[in-house]
Amino acid sequence: MTLGRIIFNNARQRPLSTLLTSLSVSVGVALIIVILSIRQTAWQRFSLGYSGFDLVVGAKGSPLQLVLNAMFNLDASPGNIPWSLYEKLAKDPRVKLATPFAVGDSYEGFRIVATTDAYLSQFEPRLNQPYELENGRIFRFSEKAVKEAMREAAERGKLGESGKKNHDHNEEHHHAEQEACEAVIGATVAQETGLKVGSTFVATHGVRESDDAAKHEHSPWTVVGALKPTGTPADRTIYINLDSFYHIEGHVIEESKPLEGGEQNPKTKDKVALTVGQISALGLKLKAPFARFALRKQINETEVAQAAFPTEEIRKLMSIVGNVDRILLAQAVLIVFVAAIGTSLALFNSMNDRRRDIAVMRALGARRKTIFAIVVGEAMLISMMGMAMGLGLGHGTVALASPFVEAAAPGFSLDAWTFQVFEIFVFAGVLIVGILAGLGPGVLAYRANVARGLTPT
């Protein structure tokens, strides 16, 4: 038999008190685990999402909204920028690669992002880990096809309602000939929709599923490739070739805008009607990262666009979120402390019952410090039980909340069952709090009068 056994037996002797005090500790621990898990996942997800981009260019407005929409498929697009800006920046000697994005459609709740093949072949969703295909290939893309599609879209705009039917027929014909509507799907999309290479699908206008949402019935896409899981928002994204985006009827305003125009469409909830010759955003990778400051300044001085540093915007977002979760965290830590006080009180209350046991142990040769260690050990045991229950409760809560979080913020999936480094610190913290909770009762036990304790009552 060991001291550990004595501690365990003592705790077991008062099962209700032990269970309730452990439970109160577990509530605090669970809250800490939930808050820190969400924060950790948020940091990981957001830091992974912008890997590879030095600058994001989009319509004037909130730079955070731009970054969230372009990089993480969250929120609504702040508006559009002219295609000409893409052409201009792609030729800029400081730019290594420019990738245009057009957004505004979805399929079964998964957002569709129109882009170039370069995005899938040259950008890295994780550092030094480019996209990999599970099967199939990346869609075909050419700038020539994009320009042709834009011209056709402009003509469609000029035809207006009267020429719509004729145009529809022409458009179908055009698709059949060029087979331009190709898509590459993320791993989660494949898993949840059942789409696979060779499947076709019809997109919905807008990024939220609703019964009355317009469907692009005449523009079915064919899945030509499926990506391997990346753990980033890309897993929940359908990538299509940019030219196919302009084949879609709804992506043309009735009154055509000039190709070089810089006007923005008014934002309407989730839906962004893309003007001919315009794109939603641009991702830029620069030859030398320090050039980003000058380039951002230059772009921000124009009337048509703004440039944002993804890292800076995410840091700003996390600092705002950080303030909130610091408050929540403080509350959770407070709960642990209150629970520790409860543990301490429970031990204090049991001291009268233990008076005889302590005296007997002392009569059998136990030293004062041994008795002290037994009582403090019991407080530590209660705290550790609370920690173990709190870990289960916390991770379980994260697992239960994960689908809701993912539904609210697509691509933001919580990793419930991965052990995080911070949990070591939570463990150490709870252990210290447990020791502190045991100190008072421990001192009382240390000072117990043996002769009085042995006196029959």
């Binding site: 038999m1 001291l3 007997v360 009569a363 059998l364 136990a366 002769a451 042995l454």
Partner: protein, 227 residues
């Protein structure tokens, strides 16, 4: 030199009015090795206090208490704890078993605090089991105290007192809470097991039947010369 030797022992308590109250004033008291001695005295005569002083739980206000050649009053508390754990076995009026522990765990407790740290746990357990066997409780070694009768509990307490092979067994009214039959059995166990291990026994009692079982009875009232 005697096995237990008390010289000029005085135990005083401070009363609420600040005046000292003398509980014990014993000029001399001796016990020889393996001696079995009963001490009688009325309630409040200081019997339990004397046992606590002999075991080193309490320090006297004055005088010396020599045990096996060592003056307990000169040892610090931690050393007295170890000394007590290794050389003295306690049997109380009630068994004072720890309720959260099985019978055999209660017996082992003593060796945990003051036993040989080099002894293998299996050996400790075997000795505890052997002691329970001697007290007729081997079959119930894994029972908790509440499932044992008062007599059985006291027999477990006797086994516990003998666990560290003590040189002296101090028994404070060990039959006080037992019926006659169980009381006699408990007493016989203490005497026989102590004799078998050459341990001395000092029992305090006011029960004439218990006193009758001992070759020597000391009256604390005569020994204690209160001022």
């Amino acid at each position: 030199m005697a096995f237990v030797e008390i010289q000029n022992l005085r135990m005083e308590y401070r009363q609420p009015d600040g005046k000292p109250l003398t509980i014990l004033n014993i000029p001399e008291f001796r016990m020889e090795p393996s001696e079995q001695l009963a001490m009688r005295g009325p309630s409040g005569s200081g019997k339990t206090t004397l046992l606590n002083i002999i075991s080193g739980i309490l320090l006297p206000s004055a005088g010396s208490v020599r045990f096996d050649g060592k003056d307990l009053t000169q040892l610090n508390e931690a050393d007295r704890d170890i000394f007590r754990g290794q050389r003295i076995g306690f049997v109380f009026q009630t068994s004072n078993l720890l309720q959260g522990f099985t019978a055999i765990e209660n017996v082992i407790l003593g060796s945990l605090f003051a036993g040989d740290p080099n002894e293998e746990p299996s050996s400790v357990r075997a000795r505890a089991h052997a002691l329970l066997e001697k007290t007729g409780l081997a079959e119930r070694s894994h029972h908790r105290p509440r499932t044992l009768s008062a007599g059985e509990q006291q027999r477990v307490a006797i086994a516990r007192a003998l666990m560290n092979k003590p040189r002296l067994i101090l028994a404070d009214e060990p039959t006080g809470s037992l019926d006659e039959k169980n009381g006699q059995e408990a007493l016989a166990l203490i005497q026989n097991l102590a004799a078998a291990s050459s341990a001395a026994v000092l029992i305090v009692t006011h029960d004439p039947a218990v006193m009758a079982e001992f070759p020597k009875v000391v009256n604390l009232k005569e020994l204690n010369q209160r001022l």
